[in-house]
Point group: C2
Chain length 204, copies 2
């Protein structure tokens, strides 16, 4: 069986999850987004909530910053918070590598493009859109206010970018990390799906 | 007549010029790459060679750096070299805006995506590929050595990135600046052309 994996990085609210899910249904291959959290929870013993909170974010809370400064100033090398995040990252990375070996699938984010970079048969995609489009989608889907959606999107994307940079040393959303970057606001969700599907089937 | 412009940013050696040229032939619309240099030479009075050298680059020569430092240390406000580059930039920007008003066309780089950002009917594309693919294309096309091609590509792209950053305050090659970013090394030149053509005709 040919191995063929699609990884999808995405800005919050851009429709990356929907695009990945639709692709998996059309192509008849498994889809992994929050499913990776469930697998990582079983593997690591952490709760799903804890993994969801820390699995795509580096911790930039005030408490974490204070602990980090304290560990620097007192020359303490261990950092409990970073260690837990590292543990989650390496657990998810192990799962993603195993998924990559098990056959065709769609994997949403969690640095999957970088984790599978030695894999010869991966299509790395990044989905983005302008803020208005993403806020509008969040407002419609989460029934939240426009201001709340703006804040949620900005915070989420900042944390994802930091997490990606921290573990891959590359810049989140830069075209050089992906084979294909699509503006879902301009192209539309359906067109993004059909472009990726077409490339996937042609290269198969 | 509907206005519809394709702008193409590209890494050196990625095939962006070829992709743009092929698109213009298939779509039957004008193509502007070095043609902008000719237009800018007529408009500004600078020679085509001078515009080619400075139209996509900020000047990072030793002489320029020394002059810049001299002007800082001696509190001289004018900077002859930067002024000439600004003059070329604004001349090319004026030409690009006029082209944007005159009808459908393909424009290669020179910050055209940013210059036309208020234009409602523009498709902004960025073409990139891994270094091996680009070096190989340069070696084949320019009959140069691999080492020379590597140096040429690295220098050219660094200067293009600096120039783009200087005039747009955005990062060259970051997906957020384009509707579509394509890896021509992975997808192939022909596939890049057909993806862009398909989007252009669908949105027309």
């Amino acid at each position: 069986m040919s191995k063929k994996i699609i990884t999808i990085g995405r800005q919050c609210g851009s429709g990356g999850h929907t695009i990945g899910k639709t692709l998996s249904e059309r192509l008849g291959i498994p889809f992994y987004d929050k499913e990776i959290i469930e697998l990582a929870a079983k593997e690591s013993g952490f709760s799903e909530d804890f993994i969801a909170e820390n699995g795509e974010h580096t911790n930039d809370s005030l408490l974490h910053k204070l602990l980090k400064n304290l560990s620097y100033s007192s020359n303490i090398k261990s950092d409990v918070y970073s260690s837990l995040q590292d543990e989650i990252y390496f657990c998810q990375a192990k799962i993603i590598r195993e998924l990559g070996e098990s056959g065709p699938c769609v994997i949403v984010s969690r640095c999957a493009d970088s984790i599978l970079e030695e894999h010869s048969d991966v299509l790395n995609v990044f989905i983005h859109a302008n803020t208005d489009f993403r806020v509008q989608r969040c407002v419609e889907r989460a029934e939240t206010s426009k201001n709340e959606a703006q804040l949620y999107i900005a915070t989420k994307d900042k944390r994802r970018a930091n997490h990606y940079k921290y573990y891959t040393e590359k810049e989140w959303g830069h075209s050089s990390n992906y084979h294909l970057c699509l503006d879902s606001g301009m192209l539309g969700i359906e067109k993004c799906v059909s472009i990726i599907e077409d490339i996937y089937l042609e290269k198969r």
